[in-house]
Amino acid sequence: MGVLDALNLDGMNVVITGGGTGLGLEMVRGMAEAGANIAIAGRRQGPIDEAADVVKGLGRKSMAVSTDVTDTSAVNALFETVLNEWGDVHVLFNNAGIVRETGRPPLWEITDESWRIGIETNLSSAFYCARAISKHMADRGSGKIVNVASGFGFRGGRDNYMYTAGKGGVVNITRAMAVSLGRYGITCNAIVPGFFPTEATNATSMSLPRGDLIPIGRTGFPREFGPVAVWLASAASDYMTGEMFIVDGGGLAGGMAPTGYGPITELA
């Protein structure tokens, strides 16, 4: 038995929110290839049905559960459904989120409603889902919660208040859950993606930074998320909790400065 055997997800039941499109779909594909059964929650039935078919096509169990993650009764019903069907949930991926409301209003024009929706979707949804399933995990004595944060959880985003504040909240609730749930055998970590062209990011008025503003010279490929999801869902990451797994082409290592900037100086 080698160290790579720990990546096996055979018999693991995963619930992922926002799993029908974009990065979520690539994480679903990666985890299903590694052996996981996956319940996919999302607002739109079409994409989550298609994602469930991807999982079934790989020979795993799957279900698509239409869910508004900002509605606590819908969230509770989601986990009841999965537990009734499969008996166990081992891994929760809080992936649902919205990159931005339409438009880029200045601070003084943001309505109560758009603030509320932004925080509910980006931050509260992760809390609602974790609350709904953590007791089940604690009773079993094991579980993994993986949140999806953002570089904007660490740095400011211009005219991007709900996303920046919500993801900052995700970063720190990840730490609070890690510190609090460790004694029940539950780990909690976050994936921090950089810029990836997806349906969601393309739909915003925020243009993706050009490759020459990202240290490695390109935006990410959604498929680069599969191995990260597998690692975090598997026993291979059992000693990691409360941490941020940053996959951003080097963005947070420096900043969104033009690539190649580097004055050359000599010792006096």
Partner: protein, 253 residues
Amino acid sequence: MPVPNDWTLEGKVALITSDTRGWARVLASALAEAGADVAVAGNSAEYVESAAAAVTAQGRRSTTIIGEFSGYAETDAAVDKTVSELGRIDILVNASLTEFGKPTLDTTEFEWSTVMDANAGAAFRWARSAGRKMTQQGSGHIVNIISEMAERGLTNHAAFSASQAAIQQMTRSLSLEWGTSGVRINCIATGWIELDPPSLEEQQKELLVRYLPLRRKGTPAEIATLMIYLSGDFSDFTTGQTIFVDGGAMAHA
């Protein structure tokens, strides 16, 4: 056993620097298990040879390089030997570490410079020597195994923690400098990891273990798959990062 197809280092050649805690054997074995041939460098023949034996036990080729590696000439020569013996160099894992704890008022100039050079200086030399080949070929992965004291302070550890923070900051800058040359460089920062931790019951007697959210010590095997990830092409969008594997210590107040 479905290991996802991505998780392979087949056809790759790694150079790992050996520590004297016994971790390099576990990590070299994991690199070989994932398919890499592995050169092992270090100043202790005992630890270097044991790591190399773990590689050949996995059916992969290995070579050993014994030395102090205190200058560019030696690290350059070690990289050259890796290429001449094993064909190329794709991966550098810097697992060597010099630990040091002493009250600052008693720390000599020699001790400060020795700790800084054995940790930060060596990591810089190895990265520079491997990075020359890697930037030329347009690909390569460097993994620095450091202590989480890069980020958290500890009494009597001013020199040691500074030497770890230096590696972390070097890693960030190199990720930018070599980002468009196809070279990726990251750190794995470890908490309380031991080769053979005592029983869980025995561990609980230590106050520091009870402070850790996961309430146990880790093992080198628990950073091995992350090291494989950071060594492979499938992690190519991950660079300049320090990933902490520490039982939750960094999340704690």
